[in-house]
C-alpha cells in the first residue's frame, strides 16, 4: 500500500515535502536564492499590471466570470493547459518518474486521455448551453434550485481540497527556496490570489494563466533539451544510463506493484480519465470563448500542450535519475541514502540546478511558484462563481438579483475563500495533503461528471434522477476515500490493514453507481415535472447542436 500512497502523494499537487523529509526544521531552510526572487518579483509585477488593466475592462458579470466571452480558441487552449499543468504535474509527476519510472508515465497518460473524450462528447454542447458555470448546463431544463445546489456543493468540495493542497505546497516550496517562513509564504499566495481574482476576474486570471503556461512549457523544454544534450540527443542512452544508476534497475520500466491489482489499475484509470471532465475550474474555461468552434480549438490546443508537457516531465524524471540521484550535493547532509534536500517532490528543481546552475534553478523555482499562484486563482474563481452565480443568485434569490450585486457577492466570496485558504493552508501545514486531491478527482468523476454528461446527452434525465445520482456519487466518493488506506490508516492512524475499502480510488464503483442512480430514479420518476423536463430535451438538444439561441453578447 505504501506505493499507492506514494502515488497519491505525487498526485497531490505538491504533496508536502515534509512528508518525505520529515517535519521541516529551521536548519534545513535554504539560503535565499536571489535569481528566484528577482524572477518571481518580475512575474508578480507583470501580473499585477495585467490585473490593473483587466480591472478597467471588467464591467459586466460576463467580463468577470467569462472574460467577456472573447478569448480565442488558441489562448483558451493554453489557459486550460495552464490550469491543468499544476505543480502536481510538474513536480509531482516528474518526482513519480524519478522514484518509480514507468509508473509515472501511466499517470500522465491517465491525465491526458480525458481530453479527447471531452472533445468528442462535451465541448460543443457545453459552450452552446452554458454561460458562467457548468451548473448552467446541468440545470438548463431541470429545476434550477436543487441542481444548482448539487453542482455548487460538488464544486466547493472539489475546489476546497485542491485549494488546500496548493496552499500547503506553495508554502513549503517558498519556505525552502526563498528562505521565507511558511506563514508568510501562505499569506503571500493568498493575498496575491485575492487581488488577481477580485479586481481582475476571469480576464486577469486567464492572462496570468497564459503567461505561466508559456513559462512552464519553455522552462520544461529547456531542461529537457539540456538533459538530452548530455546524451547526444540519444533517448536510448539516457534510459540505459538511468537503468544502470537507479536502485531498481530494469524494474523502473515495469508498471509497478501499485497497479498490479487490476481493480486498482482500472479504478485509477477511471478517476483520472473522467475526473478531468468534471473539474469545475476547467469546465468554466469553456464559457470564455465565443462559440462552439473556438471551444473545439481550445480542446485541441489543450490536448497538444498537455501531451507535449507530459513527454517533457518523463524526460525530466529520467534526467533526474541520471543527474540528481547519484549526486550527494542534492541530498540531506550530502548523503545519498538520506533522501533529497527539500523532500521527495524536488527532483525537477534539483535537476534544473544540475543542468543550468543557480540561475536555472531560480528560474524553475519561480515558475513552479507562479504555477501554484495561477492555479489557485482559477480554483478560487470557480468556487466564488459557484457561490455567487449558483447558490446566491439562483437558489437564494431565485434569479431576482442584478449583475452588479452578483459580481459583488462573488468578490466578497473570493475574499472569504482566500482567507479560508490561508488559514487552512497554515493549519494543514504538517498534514498529508495527498488524499485531498485524490478526493477531488473521485468527486469530480462520481458527482459532477455523470450529472453533466447525462443532462446533455440523455433525454430521460429528470431532476429527481440527477439530484439522487449526484448526491449518491458525491457521498459515496467522499465516504469510500475516507475509508481507504490512505486516510483510514495513514491520516486517521488506524492499524495497517484495517481500512474498510482496500483500493486506491473509489471511482470504479462510485461513478457507475452514480450513473445507475441517475438512471433508476429518472425512469421511475412519473411526476408531471419530470415529464416536462424530458419534453424540454429536444429544444435543449437543438441548441446544444447548433448554438441557436445562445447569448447574443457572446459574439462581441
Amino acid at each position: 500500500m505504501s506505493r499507492n500512497l506514494a502515488l497519491c502523494a505525487a498526485l497531490a499537487t505538491l504533496a508536502s515535502p515534509a512528508l518525505a523529509a520529515g517535519p521541516i526544521e529551521a536548519g534545513t531552510m535554504q539560503a535565499t536564492n536571489w535569481t528566484a526572487i528577482v524572477i518571481f518579483a518580475a512575474f508578480v509585477a507583470l501580473t499585477l499590471g495585467i490585473t490593473y488593466w483587466a480591472a478597467q475592462r471588467t464591467r459586466t458579470a460576463k467580463d468577470f466570470y467569462a472574460a467577456g466571452g472573447g478569448v480565442s480558441g488558441f489562448q483558451n487552449g493554453l489557459a486550460i493547459a495552464g490550469d491543468y499543468m499544476s505543480a502536481a504535474s510538474f513536480l509531482g509527476i516528474s518526482a513519480l518518474v524519478y522514484t518509480s519510472g514507468y509508473y509515472g508515465l501511466i499517470y500522465s497518460i491517465g491525465f491526458l486521455v480525458g481530453w479527447p473524450i471531452i472533445m468528442f462528447l462535451m465541448a460543443e454542447p457545453l459552450r452552446n448551453l452554458g454561460r458562467f458555470t457548468f451548473a448552467d448546463v446541468a440545470s438548463y431544463r431541470l429545476q434550477a434550485g436543487p441542481i444548482r445546489a448539487l453542482a455548487a456543493i460538488g464544486t466547493l468540495v472539489t475546489v476546497s481540497f485542491y485549494l488546500i493542497a496548493q496552499m500547503v505546497g506553495a508554502g513549503q516550496l517558498i519556505e525552502l527556496l526563498f528562505g521565507l517562513p511558511y506563514l508568510w509564504a501562505v499569506i503571500i499566495v493568498g493575498v496575491l490570489m485575492i487581488i488577481y481574482v477580485t479586481f481582475g476576474g476571469m480576464i486577469a486570471t486567464t492572462y496570468v494563466q497564459l503567461i505561466k503556461a508559456c513559462l512552464l512549457l519553455g522552462g520544461s523544454t529547456l531542461i529537457s533539451l539540456l538533459v538530452l544534450a548530455q546524451f547526444g540527443f540519444d533517448f536510448n542512452a539516457l534510459i540505459a544510463k538511468a537503468i544502470e544508476l537507479h536502485p531498481k534497475h530494469d524494474a523502473i520500466l515495469t508498471p509497478g506493484a501499485a497497479v498490479a491489482n487490476p481493480i486498482n489499475a482500472f479504478s485509477l484509470g477511471i478517476a483520472l480519465m473522467f475526473g478531468t471532465a468534471g473539474l469545475p475550474h476547467i469546465l468554466m474555461r469553456f464559457f470564455t470563448v465565443s462559440n462552439a468552434k473556438e471551444a473545439r480549438k481550445s480542446v485541441f490546443w489543450a490536448t497538444t500542450f498537455i501531451g507535449y508537457f507530459y513527454i517533457l516531465t518523463f524526460i525530466i524524471g529520467f534526467g533526474a535519475i541520471v543527474l540528481v540521484l547519484p549526486n550527494g550535493a542534492y541530498h540531506d547532509a550530502g548523503d545519498i541514502a538520506k533522501g533529497l534536500l527539500g523532500g521527495g517532490n524536488m527532483p525537477a528543481i534539483h535537476l534544473a540546478h544540475a543542468v543550468g546552475g543557480d540561475v536555472m534553478k531560480g528560474f524553475i523555482a519561480a515558475v513552479a511558484f507562479a504555477t501554484i499562484l495561477a492555479v489557485v486563482s482559477g480554483l478560487t474563481l470557480s468556487g466564488a462563481s459557484a457561490v455567487s452565480h449558483d447558490l446566491y443568485a439562483s437558489v437564494i434569490r431565485h434569479g431576482n438579483v442584478d449583475e452588479a450585486t452578483e459580481v459583488r457577492v462573488s468578490r466578497v466570496t473570493t475574499l472569504v475563500l482566500g482567507v479560508i485558504a490561508i488559514v487552512l493552508g497554515y493549519e494543514f501545514e504538517k498534514i498529508n495533503v495527498a488524499f485531498m486531491v485524490g478526493l477531488a478527482f473521485a468527486v469530480a468523476a462520481s458527482a459532477n461528471f455523470p450529472v453533466l454528461l447525462l443532462s446533455m446527452l440523455w433525454k430521460g434525465l429528470t431532476t429527481r434522477g440527477a439530484v439522487i445520482g449526484g448526491f449518491v456519487g458525491l457521498i459515496s466518493a467522499v465516504g469510500l476515500t475516507i475509508l481507504s488506506p490512505g486516510i483510514w490508516e495513514v491520516v486517521l492512524g488506524h492499524p495497517k490493514g484495517s481500512a474498510w475499502f482496500p483500493y486506491v480510488s473509489p471511482a470504479l464503483f462510485t461513478m457507475p453507481l452514480s450513473f445507475l442512480c441517475c438512471y433508476v430514479f429518472s425512469v421511475t420518476d412519473k411526476s408531471a415535472q419530470g415529464a416536462r423536463e424530458q419534453a424540454a430535451y429536444e429544444a435543449q438538444y437543438m441548441r446544444s447542436q447548433t448554438g441557436i439561441g445562445i447569448d447574443a453578447a457572446a459574439s462581441h
Binding site: Y102, I109, P116, N236, A265, I548
Partner: protein
C-alpha cells in the same frame, strides 16, 4: 424558442444530417479512445511482462505504447476538429440561415 421554430429546424434535412453525422463520428472516436486506453490499462493489469519487453536497445513496448497513446489523443482530437471545421460548421451555418431567414 417556440415550438414551431423547433419543429421547423428538426424537419430541416441539414439538421438531421448534422445530428446524425456528428453523433456517430463523435461516439466512434470516443469508443476508439476508450478502447485504446482501457486496452492499455488491461495490459498493465493483466500482462505487465509485455510492458517491459524490450523492442530496440533498452526501449520497451510500454514506452512505445505510452508515446503512442499521447500521439493518438492529439491526432484524434485534431481529426475531429478538421471534420467539424468543414462539414459541421457548413451544416450549422445553413441551418441557422434557414431558421433565422424564414423567421422574418
Amino acid at each position: 424558442m417556440d415550438d414551431r421554430m423547433l419543429a421547423r429546424i428538426q424537419g430541416d434535412p441539414n439538421y438531421q444530417a448534422l445530428v446524425r453525422e456528428r453523433s456517430s463520428f463523435g461516439w466512434t472516436l470516443a469508443i476508439i479512445m476508450l478502447t485504446l486506453y482501457y486496452g492499455f490499462i488491461a495490459i498493465v493489469a493483466f500482462d505487465p511482462g509485455l510492458i517491459s519487453t524490450k523492442v530496440t536497445g533498452v526501449l520497451t513496448v510500454g514506452l512505445f505504447m505510452g508515446a503512442g497513446l499521447i500521439v493518438a489523443s492529439v491526432l484524434l482530437t485534431g481529426l475531429y476538429v478538421l471534420r467539424a471545421n468543414t462539414r459541421y460548421d457548413d451544416l450549422t451555418r445553413a441551418i441557422v440561415a434557414a431558421a433565422t431567414g424564414s423567421a422574418k
